[in-house]
Symmetry: C2
Subunit: 444 residues, 2 copies
């Protein structure tokens, strides 16, 4: 049934975070029709399908045993860049950095900038609704996808959404599919909204602070004063030292660095707010260097530890200081190091759990996630759920939204994928199963 397709025997792979992918078959489709054949084959034989872009997901989205791995590497074309309608239409395996460099040539860009932008595929970033530093101003992929072509689990090819800024064409299924982690269908084409490159001069300011509390106070002040930053980041003292050691970053070894970029007309107001602080104003190449150093923070940390688990919680911006205090308590309780990298401007915190012994990882991971749940936040801002966060996802939904909401989500999975072949046993489906099985840990 798969005659003529490029198929190889299932060799084990590992994703970026170390989750194991053990497929029975790997298929390299060249077009939609081939994908339809694979989907029909998988459905007829009840074999799970996992779609592989660049393998940069962080929460076990790709983990599988005996699945068909659909490696999209050949479907990597930029189909169209439309400079009047302000969209680009691409195949899923196109590299995000490459896409942006083509867009830049025409004066446009796609704002979301996951730290893996130079590695990741646009399809993966769409399936995961990925974000990045620019999220504080521009949101995540959720805010930039206009339409998708998808092969549904029943083998039908459909378009979801329209490549239009405004469209009231029925229930919004687009946002169901964006961030669905491969559980509802195979994305074969993506229309993304693009905008003109910023034309205003921007400045990047580093302010060295004693601790993240001081950075938290700063961001409260900046928000209250109505400054919309391009990026607003925090790295703590441990991250600074790792960056200096690993990348020769040349940063001051203080308790932390608050990094903010603003358009030039915000600069005077920002300087007033920074009065009595130690800060450096940069622009041009030096500003780019700082952005790049910040982007490599997790890599620098990872170079210095055996095992590292990257958390991805979100708390309301106004609760950042509370969140940090709670995270520090967890650090103490388990006697571990948990350096913090944060998109502090939008409340998205990445505590990095460093361990020699992985046996406690999940317990600590979940404990940090529960801080977010208790403070009215979310267990994931941009890395997604996969297998790793399914339990805490269930806890979040049941306590914040209501058990009924988890049921509706599961109902939608069943409606679209009744044979349960699309990346099964992860994300919402796994959260639902855990909530049904394990009465003790899930609040009712």
């Amino acid at each position: 049934m798969l005659d003529g397709l490029e198929v190889e025997e299932g060799k084990e792979r590992e994703d970026f975070a170390g989750f194991k992918i053990r497929p029975r078959l790997i298929v390299y489709p060249k077009n939609e029709e081939e994908i339809v054949r694979v989907v029909n084959y998988a459905r007829d034989n009840k074999i799970p399908i996992v779609t592989y872009g660049a393998g940069t997901s962080l929460s076990g989205h790709l983990q599988c045993e005996g699945c068909i791995l659909l490696d999209m590497k050949y479907m990597n074309q930029i189909i169209e860049i439309n400079d009047i309608d302000w969209y680009t239409r691409v195949q899923p395996a196109v590299n995000l950095e490459k896409l942006n460099s083509e867009l830049n040539k025409k004066g446009f860009f796609l704002p979301p900038d996951p730290a893996s932008y130079f590695l990741c595929s646009v399809g993966g970033a769409t399936a995961n609704a990925s974000g990045g530093m620019r999220g504080v101003k521009y949101g995540t992929f959720r805010d930039w996808v206009l339409a998708l072509k998808v092969v549904l689990p029943n083998g039908k090819i459909v378009k979801i959404g329209e490549p239009l800024r405004k469209n009231r064409g029925g229930y919004d299924l687009l946002h169901l599919f964006v961030g669905s982690e491969g559980t509802l269908g195979i994305i074969t084409e993506i229309w993304l909204r693009i905008i003109p490159l910023p034309q205003r001069k921007t400045y990047t300011i580093i302010s060295y602070v004693n601790d993240i509390e001081e950075a938290g106070q700063l961001i409260y002040l900046i928000r209250r004063n109505g400054i919309i930053p391009e990026i607003a980041e925090f790295i703590d003292g441990e991250v600074i030292r790792a960056l200096n050691r690993e990348l020769n970053a040349g940063l001051s070894e203080k308790g932390g660095a608050f990094i903010i970029s603003v358009e030039e007309d915000y600069l005077p107001k920002l300087q007033t707010l920074l009065e009595n602080k130690e800060y450096i104003i940069t622009e041009g190449e030096e500003a780019e260097r700082i952005y790049s150093i910040r982007a490599q923070s997790a890599i620098a940390l990872k170079a210095e530890t055996k095992l590292m688990y990257v958390e991805d919680i979100v708390v309301p911006v106004s609760r950042i200081i509370d969140a940090i205090k709670r995270i520090k308590e967890i650090e103490k309780k388990y006697n571990i190091r948990m350096p913090i990298i944060a998109h502090i401007g939008d409340g998205n915190l990445h505590p990095n759990i460093m361990l020699d012994d992985p046996s406690k990882a999940q317990i600590i991971f979940d404990e940090v996630a529960r801080v977010a749940i208790e403070l009215g936040g979310s267990v994931s801002g941009e890395h997604g759920i996969g297998v790793q966060k399914a339990r805490v996802l269930a806890e979040q939904i049941i306590s914040h939204n209501g058990r009924e909401v988890l049921k509706i989500m599961k109902g939608i999975k069943d409606l679209i994928d009744p044979e349960d072949i699309m990346n099964p046993n992860k994300f919402v489906e796994l959260a639902y199963k855990l909530s049904e099985l394990d009465e003790s840990t899930i609040p009712r």
Copy 2:
């Protein structure tokens, strides 16, 4: 069962567009618990519920016979304005203008500006994913709602989404509920993202053009040159004359007026693009007057005709000129007047069908909608579907997205509202029924 609630016998009402609302009962709930009681009563007795905000919808969203009308007028409080987390939390019947004036006092605003902003409720604008002139830059309500509290058809109170800019907490149900036209549940609270008031000086430019083709060429040029306008509007010669007669607008009676607002640093580039055109640069009060005149265009037209049907199609910006030509042909064919008001910057066109005899209204209406479908657009950008556009919605989805997509949408309605009590027989449900019944007009 409804003891203690404020209930009155069903008196007939008419919505803003003249659709008849003929409830058997009108209930004025004061809180969620009362709504739950009404929903349970309706479900037990299989009576449809229609939710009434301010009655400003335009496509028959409220039309009913023998329904329970839930008039939300008492639930009109602003619960919170959060100047660190940048959201506001409100009850659904709060008036949009009032909300914005409270936000303005704190230095914030909620961008989407439907022309009915001074009348409409925030709940209605959410249920309809409403847009407005600022849509070209800021999108519609779809882009600004963060979370909802909802009474589901089964009587359970749930929260959908989180009041966070980033949240990967399961499938995105939020965007299913935003724009669902009262068909999935009753909205009882809304968290909306807010942003600081613009700090840059803006200018509003009117350029008089010979016709909409010339305006179309202008917008192509502006888009290609990477100018992001605050608003980009067009009104044709007939609209100008009606505004002069009805509102003493003092506009030049040319073939049309292209109205664009930009931040000051775009002005030099824009002036270069307008070389050889007749244009006037305004700011401050005069710019506000022009915005207000443009906002009242439909009212001015309505004053001069017996019956007027407001279309709301979207086409890709690059197809505006083709769309206009096709609309002019329809005008000729039926020998009617169809003056055009357009959010030309995002391709959202409002041809206003003026008739003495309503019998041909739906035929003409559908014919205009089909122009959008054929050009890759949408039958509605911001007014929604209701009963009026259900047939063309089915045509759009089946020809652009695939029949399977309409089935999934209907499946979601059945999943969440299995007894079909929430504003039944409209929107997606009606589109689905028409597509099943009427084989001749719906493409298969």
